[in-house]
Symmetry: C2
Subunit: 237 residues, 2 copies
């Protein structure tokens, strides 16, 4: 009877963590997509909303961390149960950083307000963010299934984002060289593109954490990397 009770309480703790992480994931996705929309449309109001939403994500991460620690201390979980909780802490931290990257892009909306974003570069950034958001959505979906195989497959896909970032990086340099008046705006867009490229890395981190939760091991081999990035000097993470 007592052990059933403990099992149920532990189960409730895990459900709480899983639900909060799903909510954090939803908010992080929304912040990223809104920050890019605000950038492309010069929508300062939307940018300010993204900046203030970041506080919610910070609090949620702290809440997941606190709940995880209390659960470990109270239930003393072992093996897979312990990995489950440690994984929650790591995933919450990656999602909080994704929110920070959205917030940083939103701050730059105000910085490029005067000049606007060249249409072609705006489309490039939108496209890059779509790839990163698909990656993020998929990894959050895999989180609900805890499939080690699917986690490995997602990890392979960060290469695509790196390759597109590299091509966008090159295009932005060309814009700056063509007309010095583009330099200030393009500098901010370079940082925005970098922010989005880093979202892909956090999705990859989350995929590795899910693999670890499911198997107790780290995925084998180095992360796949797009080697052209270093050739043209785009420097991915």
């Amino acid at each position: 009877m007592a052990s059933t009770h403990i099992f149920t309480a532990f189960d409730d703790d895990l459900k709480f963590l899983t639900r909060r992480i799903a909510e954090m994931g939803g908010l992080a996705e929304q912040m990223v997509s809104e920050s890019v929309r605000a950038l492309v449309n010069g929508d300062v109001g939307l940018a300010q909303k993204v900046i203030s939403d970041d506080t919610i994500l910070d609090l949620a991460e702290r809440e997941v961390g606190d709940k995880a620690i209390v659960t470990i201390a109270r239930r003393q979980p072992m093996a897979a149960d312990l990995r489950e909780i440690m994984g929650s802490i790591r995933i919450a931290s990656d999602l909080e950083r994704v929110g920070d990257l959205g917030k940083n892009t939103a701050k730059r909306v105000i910085a490029v307000q005067g000049t606007g974003v060249p249409r072609r570069l705006g489309r490039g950034i939108e496209h890059l963010s779509e790839l990163a958001l698909v990656q993020l959505k998929e990894v959050l979906d895999v989180y609900t299934t805890r499939s080690a195989d699917r986690a490995v497959a997602i990890r392979e896909r960060d290469e695509e984002i790196d390759a597109m970032y590299t091509s966008l990086f090159r295009e932005m340099l060309t814009y700056m060289m063509e007309d010095p008046r583009n330099i200030t705006t393009c500098t901010h867009l370079l940082f925005c593109a970098k922010n989005i490229e880093r979202i892909g890395d956090h999705a990859t981190n989350i995929a590795e954490t899910i693999y670890y939760m499911a198997t107790g091991a780290q995925p084998e081999g180095e992360r796949p990397k797009d080697d052209t990035a270093n050739t043209v000097g785009a420097v991915t993470e």
Copy 2:
């Protein structure tokens, strides 16, 4: 007798965590200072050393995390003891990210290899990194004393780094506008300067964690911010 035994074992766990964090701090500092030296002198060999050192820091963070979790599960610490362990996890994570920023700067040494770094900008980056390293050294020193007052004082000082980053950002834009041939190199230097500015933020995070470890509360009020950054569009974190 039994309780003395438990106390001693817990004490040993804490000592282990404190020692590993001090070691991580030393390595992170070294990586940052070597990455800047490699950048300014175009020393690709030193840059490659920094890149490979990052693995050591990643492993150390994982080791601190694992030890912290095992300690929580085994000793079920409460109040200040529990904060001590949670704080270790957070500080290790900040130090690991400082190492990542050093590694990212090191990767850019290879990207700017052909052109070299303009002397004036190189000095600006060195100066910025000296400020960030002083901040990091001091916060690691405060970590050994757990002084809440000194932690608050360090938090105030991130403004200086933000102000210098803003002035360097402006100078680099001017360089790019003066001569389009500077654009590629300056773009990398902008990212390097941003990496260093972010080290200041991690030092501030660590200061806040120490305050929390010592008092159980978050420091009051918003982080001090240099407002000129947003006026000239430098966008600090």
